[in-house]
């Protein structure tokens, strides 16, 4: 299929992050990760639990923007912490900055007492990252996002987790999916490694837009294409209005 677009490679790459996770809460921030979680459950990871981002667990293959929910559970914000702290969750968060060990910043740029740019705050990132599996979605892969060191560690990376036994006990970063490629942390010291490149993207483009050294094999594989059935689910069931295309340029 030659007409598969970049946003669809991003969706399948996000979906793959949740493969083999079993009955955990798949929490996603952003349209593409949300589609990824819903696609994974609709296909190869049927045990995943999916929230509507408010207070409900949803059993059906909910299209983006739809309110036609089949509710299978109640999960108000306070109960989300029970899930987080029990470890039965795999979240895919956004990141304004990420370093090579996966330290993430969504709080602020500059100095904490008077930031150059105040963002949303650390939210649940500190607690998420030391309690359950975490992946990241970066929609604009650039040297502004992939930096040598982040301004405020919100989500905890592998180096920090290694240095603190109680932080490291349940810590685990899985994937970083961007508009260009997929990273994992499958190196000896758990630094970021280039896992696959989306078709149409050159290796040099990835390296030039990443502000630190990235481990990679000489011939980095391409991100796998969605199957015919997966494409149908993305295009006709989960996102018939093409909302995903607003998040990733072709």
């Amino acid at each position: 299929m030659s007409d598969i677009t970049r946003d669809e490679y991003c969706v399948i790459a996000c979906a793959e992050a949740w493969r083999d996770d079993g009955a955990v809460l798949a929490s996603a921030f952003g349209f593409i990760p949300t589609l990824g979680a819903r696609l994974a459950r609709a296909t190869f990871s049927p045990e995943l639990l999916i929230s509507d981002g408010e207070a409900y667990l949803v059993a059906n293959d909910l299209p983006l923007g739809s309110h036609q929910k089949v509710v299978e559970g109640w999960l108000p914000f306070r109960s989300v912490f029970d899930v987080v702290w029990s470890g039965r969750r795999h979240v895919m968060m956004g990141a304004v900055q990420l370093d090579r060990f996966g330290n993430q910043n969504i709080s602020m740029i500059g100095k904490h007492d008077k930031p150059k740019a105040q963002m949303i705050g650390v939210r649940g990132a500190p607690g998420n990252t030391v309690n359950h599996a975490t992946s990241y979605w970066v929609q604009n892969h650039s040297t502004r996002a992939f930096v040598a060191s982040v301004d405020m560690v919100s989500g905890v990376g592998f180096d920090r987790a290694r240095a603190n036994p109680a932080a490291g006990r349940f810590h685990g970063l899985r994937r970083v999916v961007t508009n260009l490629c997929v990273f994992d942390f499958s190196t000896a010291d758990h630094a970021m490694r280039l896992r696959s490149i989306h078709p149409g993207v050159e290796l040099d483009e990835v390296l030039a837009n990443t502000g630190f050294e990235v481990e990679h094999v000489p011939n980095v594989p391409e991100t796998r294409a969605p199957t015919v059935e997966e494409l149908r689910l993305i295009r006709e069931v989960l996102d018939p209005n093409d909302v995903r295309k607003s998040e990733v340029k072709p």
Partner: protein, 279 residues
């Protein structure tokens, strides 16, 4: 003697003193006690420490110059990610910040409610939350393994304000939406506790399942009837968020003249005029 906890917005404001710590219920741009927040904006009180799962409540109080410090895990308008007034206050260095993981925040309220010196958690370990809050301490488990975890101190409040769907004059209150957020804990963490509500009802006329009667009168000192009192934030199922108004709020925040006009029309007016202007 019948119990009657009915109060006015002025009664609530009269409890506030300069430098107090005030907790505000709701979450982001959801079920915020906005009519009480606007009343505080119009008052003479200052130097407040605001404890909130932050939304436009934090923004309005920052814009009105009422805030010395914000205790937060996030400040957001939900459908619009960043709160413009909070952002400006932080970037100008005009407010102090106590930033923590949103789960630590929950445990801080719970520790205050339970009157214990701390509650343990893994959240915060390894993150810069520990760096920007130098007073935060860890504690070693006295049990096998001896793990060292964060000891979250109580978030004790002088005053708490929350907005509910229904209440009676005795101080019992009810949420009818899908989530109470942390409103019961805000009340239990505070010395003086105020509930505003969409509608006062007779005690025998609470509708909906008994689980929604989460706030009982031992947790409340005053009840203010405030129809549309959470506007422009959401108050399900009575009304959703007024997205158009929220957008106009953000637009006005970006320009000094526009903000002066917004303030004159929507904040420096009494509740009836606000409700009329936003119909």
């Amino acid at each position: 003697m019948s119990i009657d906890l009915r109060a006015t917005r002025d009664d609530v404001v009269a409890e506030l003193r300069d430098g107090m710590t005030i907790g505000i219920g709701g979450w982001g741009s959801r079920r915020k006690p906005m009519s009480l927040v606007r009343a505080i904006c119009r008052s003479g009180v200052r130097d407040l420490t605001v404890v909130s799962y932050g939304g436009p409540d934090v923004g309005l109080l920052c814009a009105a110059g009422k805030v010395k410090r914000v205790v937060f895990g996030f400040v957001t308008l939900d459908s619009i990610p960043l709160e413009p007034h909070f952002r400006r206050a932080r970037e100008s260095g005009s407010i102090e910040a106590t930033e923590m993981d949103e789960g630590m925040f929950y445990l801080g309220l719970l520790a205050a409610a339970w009157r214990v010196p701390f509650l343990p958690t893994r959240a915060g370990l390894g993150s810069d939350v520990m760096l920007v809050n130098p007073s935060l301490r860890t504690v070693r488990s006295p049990y096998e393994g001896g793990e060292e975890v964060v000891a979250v101190p109580p978030l004790s409040l002088d005053v708490a304000i929350v907005h509910m769907n229904r209440a009676d004059t005795r101080g019992n209150a009810q949420f009818l939406g899908p989530d109470i957020y942390f409103d019961d804990l805000f009340l239990q963490a505070a010395s003086k506790r105020f509930v505003s509500c969409e509608r006062l009802v007779e005690t025998g006329e609470f509708e909906g399942p008994v689980q929604t009667l989460r706030i009982n009168r031992s947790m409340v000192d005053g009840v203010v009837e405030a129809p549309r009192g959470a506007h422009f934030t959401s108050c399900e199922p009575d009304y959703g968020r007024d997205e158009a108004f929220q957008t106009s709020y953000v637009k006005a925040a970006g320009d000094e003249d526009a903000w002066a006009a917004f303030r004159a029309r929507y904040i420096d007016v009494d509740e009836a005029a606000y409700q009329e202007a936003t119909r």
